[in-house]
């Protein structure tokens, strides 16, 4: 055993070594986090006010401090908003509008995505005669303002007897979603390796065979994007819902507007707030659920080989 003190001293480590120290509080960080916090507050404050107000009773609201948390939590406004609030002759609350919106959104989303994905696939992979012109027209279509087409479509729907019906509104939503969705799918399918399509053709798969067996299974990421886009877009739609329906089948957004803007009686802020949150719940849930799916979809869709 050698006496450690007899060993030559290890050379001193001079100069920087290991991870570079980072300062937690630097002017740059203060600026960065400061800005982020301010922006976050700016967005969250209204939501906070809404939630807080919807849980108060009317007497407490009249006191006037909108930022104060509720002294006494009550769910009565939520119940009223969902099941009792009156719009026009119906006094069954937002629940009616909710089911209407579901009946509008679900078929519209399915129909528009089904058609647009086939369109996009055909445009991307099968260069048929006139495909370029067709594509140009479609792109052009997505730039025409909705307002221009509002009235012609009223006439069109009336002529085929679908004006003021859910089916009519579903058709309108499906058509208006078409240009942007087709563009989305076309670009996605164009980005997939062309050799995959060629290989499938050599293997004897036809138009539908390639679509269902090769392309669709690889489309999860873009399907999720399309679903987010369509569900939120159609659920939040107000214009078409107002123009092409009647009170019985109003979508949730239109009904919400009528509850909030009703002129008779006192303004029930708590009910209004609850109704608004209820209406926004569906897009919110879609974002949360599909956000996760979206990331997973991209990871699973690693196309290369």
């Amino acid at each position: 055993m050698v006496n450690p003190s007899l060993l030559p001293a290890a050379p001193k480590v001079v100069g920087p070594r290991g991870p570079k120290p980072t300062k937690a509080i630097s002017p740059r960080n203060i600026m960065l986090y400061g800005t982020l916090i301010v922006v976050a507050l700016y967005y969250l404050l209204p939501l906070y006010v809404m939630v807080v107000t919807s849980l108060k009773g009317m007497p407490e609201i009249r006191v006037g401090n909108i930022f104060a948390p509720p002294l006494e939590i009550t769910f009565q406004p939520w119940i009223k908003a969902w099941a009792e609030a009156c719009t026009g002759l119906n006094c069954d609350g937002l629940s009616r509008g909710f089911w209407n919106s579901v009946q509008i959104t679900v078929p519209s989303v399915i129909v528009s995505i089904a058609i647009a994905s086939v369109n996009g696939y055909a445009l991307a992979n099968w260069r048929f005669k006139g495909s370029q012109i067709f594509f140009t027209i479609l792109i052009f279509g997505s730039f025409i303002p909705y307002q221009v087409m509002l009235y012609p479509i009223v006439i069109l729907l009336r002529e085929i007897g679908l004006y003021g019906s859910l089916t009519g509104l579903v058709i309108v939503h499906s058509i208006f979603g078409m240009p942007i969705l087709t563009l989305l799918f076309r670009n996605y399918f164009t980005s997939l390796p062309e050799e995959l399509f060629k290989a499938a053709r050599v293997d004897g798969a036809g138009f539908w065979g390639i679509y269902f067996r090769i392309m669709l299974p690889m489309s999860l990421p873009i399907l999720v994007v399309a679903v987010i886009l369509q569900v939120t877009g159609i659920w939040n739609d107000f214009l078409f819902g107002t123009v092409y329906t009647k009170p019985d089948i109003w979508p949730m957004t239109v009904q919400l507007n009528n509850i909030v803007n009703s002129t008779q009686g006192v303004k029930e802020y708590n009910v209004n707030m609850a109704a608004t949150i209820l209406t926004g719940l569906v897009p919110l849930v879609i974002y949360f659920v599909s956000g996760k799916l979206f990331v997973r979809g991209i990871a699973a869709g690693a196309v290369k080989g």
Partner: protein
């Protein structure tokens, strides 16, 4: 009986003419390599034969049958792509059987064929895996298997090995050669790697700008390139070119360089006739030049050493000859000093002479 015939084939993308009036006959069981630089139309030609591209003009025959308007699946071809192009969501087995299922083959026959193909390609343990769980070499093997199970007459390969690393590439190259020896199918193989072309091919078609420059056996292409382009494209290190003139003196023809040095062309194997004279380019491969320390009149030309590049088995010596750099393959242990003057003797029977104007071999 040719297995594949391409007759007066033209193909345009809009205004760009990619293939020009192209004729090509491929014999039954032949291994033909299409060789050429990037963008010369090799893949385009292959896609036309496969039926993946509509031709602008001309005809394609496979086994004497006019398939110009037929669908890819009806042509009796199988194709292997550079990027493997395996269906990512299907297992290896699914990839192999996809074509057979499309053809509505009974399932016991499918199983039989998949088993046989996976035996040949040694991918049986991989059958249940997804393509993403395979290495590059394994993926390409599965891609070959997809053509194999369909029992096609003609295999088309589009640069199948260029995504693989060097080691795997030479391994799979040998495997493809073995596969061809075993199956004896007609194979058309696109590459821009001349080693692949020279080792695999029964015949090579050298392409440039949508035109076939020369179609011949590898040795023929190497020894008697039909024009300057082919001569420069094939061979690594590249052929040396020496500009000059042909001087005819009765029966004797000699080559005179720019500076007036003269070399006798005794023993040159002309494709046409040397006696036309005129401006010409002498092409000699690095291994066909011999260096001497002494001058031999009428045979050697002096040149000064510039650089010595050792390459392991041998060395590449770069010499300056009248403003022209020449490379010569020499023994690795011959140590050459920069500036030394050597006298170069060209192996005339193995050289090529090209006309200056047409660039064709004389």
């Amino acid at each position: 009986m040719p297995s594949v015939s391409v007759r007066e084939l033209s193909l345009n993308f809009g205004d760009v003419q990619v293939l020009r009036n192209l004729n090509l006959d491929i014999e039954e069981g032949e291994f033909l390599v299409l060789l050429g630089p990037s963008g010369c139309g090799k893949s385009t030609l292959l896609n036309c034969i496969a039926g993946l591209l509509d031709v602008s003009d001309g005809q394609i025959f496979i086994k004497e049958r006019n398939v110009t308007w037929e669908e890819p699946k009806d042509r009796g071809i199988g194709m292997v792509f550079q990027s493997y192009a395996l269906y990512p969501q299907m297992s290896v087995e699914g990839n192999l059987s996809f074509g057979l299922k499309n053809a509505r083959m009974p399932s016991d026959e499918i199983t039989k064929r998949v088993t046989r193909a996976s035996e040949i390609l040694q991918i049986e343990p991989l059958l249940k895996r997804k393509p993403s769980q395979l290495s590059g070499g394994q993926r390409q093997r599965v891609a070959i298997g997809r053509a194999l199970v369909r029992d096609v007459d003609v295999f088309l390969f589009d640069e199948p090995l260029s995504n693989l690393d060097a080691q795997l590439r030479s391994e799979l190259r040998v495997e493809i050669k073995r596969l061809h020896a075993r199956l004896k199918n007609t194979m058309i193989y696109v590459t821009h790697d001349q080693i692949e072309a020279l080792t695999l091919a029964d015949r090579i078609a050298v392409m440039k700008g949508g035109v076939i420059q020369q179609l011949a056996a590898p040795q023929m292409i190497y020894n008697k390139p039909s024009n300057l382009y082919v001569a420069g494209f094939i061979g690594s290190p590249a052929m040396n070119f020496l500009p000059g003139r042909l001087v005819v003196n009765g029966e004797e023809v000699s080559f005179t360089t720019k500076d007036g040095a003269s070399i006798s062309l005794q023993g040159y194997e002309a494709s046409t006739s040397l006696s036309q004279g005129g401006e010409a380019t002498l092409g000699v491969r690095p291994e066909h030049i011999q260096i001497h320390t002494e001058l031999i009149p009428g045979v050697t030309i002096p040149a000064a050493v510039e650089i010595d590049e050792p390459m392991g088995a041998d060395s590449l010596l770069w010499l300056k000859l009248e403003q022209q750099s020449l490379s010569v393959r020499i023994d690795a242990d011959l140590n050459c000093q920069e500036g030394t003057i050597y006298h170069l003797e060209f192996n005339i029977p193995k050289s090529s002479i090209f006309r200056k104007d047409t660039e064709e071999r004389i």
